[in-house]
């Protein structure tokens, strides 16, 4: 590798990166284990939870999304999953996700900022094993000392293909 191809990171940035990493790992754990209310508690009051359909580079005001939730719609989603009648999650998906390639983009440890990552989600439901790959962009903010999600954008590798049931928390 050519020297300087990768930017070395300051020690202070490592601490910020580690905090973000632990936040994303925590989020992954809550989503994997269907702890809906605890996952919801990771969000700020005003939120955008966006999973585009068809392509990544679309205007969500003009193009249909798989998910484009504000606070009210996200609360509906979590409420519904908690009822006994969310059949597409009965039985629930067994999930195991890996979050990696975490990068801080325009990020200030005191206030938060934008964070980019990649994920692989393994899903087992009935006899079907599925893999969901993609990139995620989080907008994190620091409120009362702790990090919270203000926005989460999920760019699925296969958002342009036929999908049957994607009802667990991404």
């Amino acid at each position: 590798m050519t020297a300087g191809a990768l930017q070395d990171t300051l020690l202070t940035d490592w601490a910020a990166l580690r905090e973000v990493e632990l936040f994303l790992f925590r989020e992954a754990e809550l989503a994997d284990t269907h702890r809906y209310e605890e996952w919801l508690a990771l969000w700020t009051r005003e939120i955008v939870y966006w999973v585009p359909a068809n392509r990544d580079d679309v205007d969500p005001q003009r193009q249909v999304a798989l998910i484009y939730d504000n606070r009210a719609r996200l609360e509906d989603r979590v409420f519904r999953l908690g009822t006994p009648f969310a059949h597409a999650q009965r039985p629930r998906s067994k999930l195991l996700r890996t979050v990696s390639n975490i990068e801080l983009i325009d990020y200030d440890p005191a206030r938060g900022g934008t964070v980019q990552s990649r994920f692989v989600i393994g899903e087992l439901r009935r006899e079907q094993e599925s893999f969901w790959l993609g990139r995620a962009r989080h907008v994190l903010v620091r409120e009362g000392g702790r990090l919270l999600m203000k926005e989460k954008h999920v760019f699925l590798l296969r958002n342009g293909t036929a999908i049957g049931n994607l009802t667990f928390l991404l």
Binding site: A72, D76, L81, F85, I163, G164, N165, L166
Partner: protein, 436 residues
């Protein structure tokens, strides 16, 4: 070009259709049997008018979308002459698909097997090393093959792989006036399928995507519970006062030719004033209501506004217009179906109103919605259950004694009645039994 209808498979199932479809029940095999599926591909999807797409999907010359007519891959394209066509996606030389991107804009389609190229009108532009042929290929009949028949109704383009058959208007019959409920939701009669689509799938037979007014309160119990929390959120605003109870003004209708409807119009009309208040909360809402009255007169405008562009109709065999979307049903195998959902943008509504319609759609439909995945889950449970063939019959008798023939000739029942399923099964059997 006048080839006979595609019908090269004649399984033993051919002579069993009348044994499998009875007035009050159907046999599991019509959903599970591979021979029946092949016969459907020939006799229904190889002949009937199939919905291909809407002209608004192709605004510019060269715009195209790939679609399926049963197993037949086609290119839905607007040529450089601005004419919309349905062309078979198959090189006239050795049969390779000439277009692989699901959508885009192209001046020409090239088969990269041997380098033949075709204009976006389908005309053969050139063959490589033409001296190898004794005739001039570009003056021959080697253009991309168009679907044998193509017609459109109010911008909705239909095609048939059979060179003969009823005209589209005759086949649509009563369904045409239901399509009008969508197009006339615009004061200028303009709707656009330009907001992308949801591509969903389920491991079940294509005929399970029916029109069923009996299931919502049970299958969608999680959503109904949510609507009760907030009647103004998303689709909740169009589902007040339980439209799916037999006490509602909602009706099921068999419109003939397998076209079926959950007719929610009178139920929604009851809520007209409240619905107007909802629309007026958006920028452009009041102007939209006024524009509708000016365009259609008070009585029709009230009906159209209340309907919200949703006839809730199934146009047999592969099209549905449900809530804010137009659907295409693609059978892939007896036990696997893809369902495309295209949210509609309504001309004369503000951007804010159309964006809200997108959000309503997403809240219930698509692979991450609150409704579609539960429907798909149930279709899959049915498909698995149908293999229990000791008692192979599926009961469709609900409401048989109380159904009536309405003034317009449609068969009408209460909203939970299986009028729609019986109508679809009846048409299915007619088409499957038709010879030649």
């Amino acid at each position: 070009m006048n080839q006979p209808a595609i019908e090269w498979i004649r399984p033993a199932a051919e002579n069993m259709i009348s044994e499998l479809v009875k007035p009050d029940r159907v046999h599991s095999r019509i959903y599970t049997d591979p021979g029946i599926f092949e016969l459907e591909m020939a006799r229904i999807f190889g002949k009937a008018w199939l919905f291909i797409g809407h002209e608004s999907e192709l605004p510019a010359p060269g715009d195209y979308k790939l679609r399926l007519m049963g197993k037949t891959p086609v290119i839905f394209v607007r040529g450089r002459d601005k004419v919309v066509r349905v062309l078979l996606n198959r090189c006239r030389h050795r049969g390779a698909q000439v277009c692989e991107e699901e959508e885009g804009n192209a001046r020409q389609f090239t088969c990269w097997f041997h380098g033949w190229s075709f204009e976006n009108t389908g005309k053969l532009l050139g063959v490589t090393q033409p001296e190898g042929y004794e005739r001039s290929m570009t003056n021959s009949d080697m253009d991309l093959t168009p679907a044998p028949r193509m017609e459109s109704y109010r911008g909705f383009v239909f095609a048939s792989l059979s060179a003969s058959g009823a005209a589209l208007k005759d086949e649509l019959g009563l369904a045409a006036s239901r399509i009008d409920i969508l197009t006339d939701a615009s004061p200028t009669g303009e709707i656009f399928l330009d907001a992308g689509h949801h591509k969903t799938s389920y491991r079940g037979n294509w005929k399970m995507v029916g029109m069923d007014g009996y299931h919502p309160n049970y299958l969608h119990g999680s959503v109904v519970a949510g609507w009760k929390r907030n009647a103004d959120s998303g689709i909740g605003s169009t589902h007040r006062d339980d439209p799916y109870s037999d006490g509602a003004l909602s009706r099921t209708r068999d419109l003939g030719h397998g076209h079926c409807q959950l007719d929610l119009l009178q139920q929604r009309l009851k809520d007209y004033e409240r619905h107007c208040e909802y629309l007026k909360r958006f920028k452009g809402g009041a102007e939209y209501i006024a524009g509708m009255h000016k365009a259609y007169g008070a009585e029709r405008a009230r009906l159209l506004i209340a309907a919200g562009g949703d006839p809730h109709v199934g146009v047999f065999p592969n099209m549905q217009i449900v809530n804010n979307q137009v659907r295409i049903i693609n059978p892939i195998t007896p036990g696997y179906t893809e369902l495309l959902m295209f949210p509609t943008r309504i001309g004369g509504m503000s951007d804010e109103m159309n964006t809200e319609r997108l959000r309503q759609h997403e809240s219930f439909y698509g692979p991450c919605g609150s409704g579609s995945p539960d429907d798909a889950e149930m279709f899959e449970r049915v498909q698995r259950g149908l293999y229990a063939e000791v008692d192979p019959w599926i009961d469709l008798s609900r409401g048989m004694r109380r159904e009536k023939v309405d003034a317009d000739g449609s068969i009408v029942g209460l909203i939970t009645d299986e009028v729609t399923q019986r109508g679809q099964a009846k048409r299915w059997a007619q088409l499957m039994e038709a010879q030649g």
